[in-house]
Symmetry: C2
Subunit: 238 residues, 2 copies
Amino acid sequence: MSLVLYHAPKSSASRRLRLFLEEKGLSYEGHVINLAVQEQHSPAYLRINPMGVVPTLVHDGRALHESSTICEYLDAIRPEPPLRPADPYDLAQMRNWVRYVDGLISNLIRFNWRHGMAAGAARMTEAEFEEMLKSVPSEERKEAWRRAARNPYTEAELDDSRRALLAMLDQMEGMIENDALIGGRYGLADIATAPFVRRIEEEIAPDAFETRPNCASWWQALTRRPAYARADFGPFLA
Amino acid sequence: MSLVLYHAPKSSASRRLRLFLEEKGLSYEGHVINLAVQEQHSPAYLRINPMGVVPTLVHDGRALHESSTICEYLDAIRPEPPLRPADPYDLAQMRNWVRYVDGLISNLIRFNWRHGMAAGAARMTEAEFEEMLKSVPSEERKEAWRRAARNPYTEAELDDSRRALLAMLDQMEGMIENDALIGGRYGLADIATAPFVRRIEEEIAPDAFETRPNCASWWQALTRRPAYARADFGPFLA
């Protein structure tokens, strides 16, 4: 099977998919999309991903979008090792957990975009910035760019987002069993959450684990997996 | 098997799940949650759905949340008739379509909440309204209530939402094949979309079908299905 992955090293959705591919033992041809020069909005990339976001996985010539959807797809076409619960009820809980985590992405973005995007936009003139925005496919994402680049998030907004992400950890603390989030078995729920926890550990709330022993143990177990090293999350902060 | 459905007649997620249950030929014990008196925020209901939203399906004593997740669960435990594509690529397309439709719910809410909620809130004093808000489980939903009840959406905002919903129909127009959205076969993608199209037809853009013949044919075929009548969407506008 031919798998071509278009991704960015620091993108949380890309990190999720790389970790999933490594856990499956699937090899792929990787292409890094350079977000710093807006390569995700280039005509060539928009042809395979009209939303202009990473990652995209191309399997035997057909493009797939949305990291959670792609992971479920890979689990269906390559069932071993299984990374989704076999029990339908646990599977439903897993899907709702991933949905909840995905819904927290705006909180992560407030921290992430300060580094790459806001810094890049600061070097542009207003005219250059508006010219760049023309290539952003959706109104919603144009607004997000304007906000992050020209009107940086306040400390109060960052605090709100930190609280939302810590509330995720609090939920995890009550769910973790055998160092896994769903049904006591490592899988997509854990993989989907890992990029978020990586950013919490690195910058957003490094001391969060001190009062959350189950999360601490879960994170230690996850980061010791060989696949985690191969997925190469790398540092977010240069 | 014992299925107990907690739902509201006009809620789009409830309509989706009722239609899915009828297509599966699954019978259930139905309980209507009276949104007009905030029954979804009552302690009894919050015990089975901590988010305070409808629907909830209880299967053999275990509560399930999120209509799209519940539909996939039902398709797994009752495989006939299949309402998800067998092909993994089509299944991925279906999941991304449902995800996209779910992401449009804020646009539907702008039209829906004008009727029930805004009218109900208008009859409350400020103190009664704030007291009611205490039972709303999330900050996000409290804000949505304040907005809809005390600061009604403007015509410009309603126009934006109408445009977003018509853009969904435009996409559908290019997807429909054999009166189905994915892979030429009726299933969850169609069922998930039906409550949205029902509101477009009824109030938001009744003439939308005139210029979208594939959507018109799709909608006619869907609404002629016996399960659609049994799911009893009913009128949204009293």
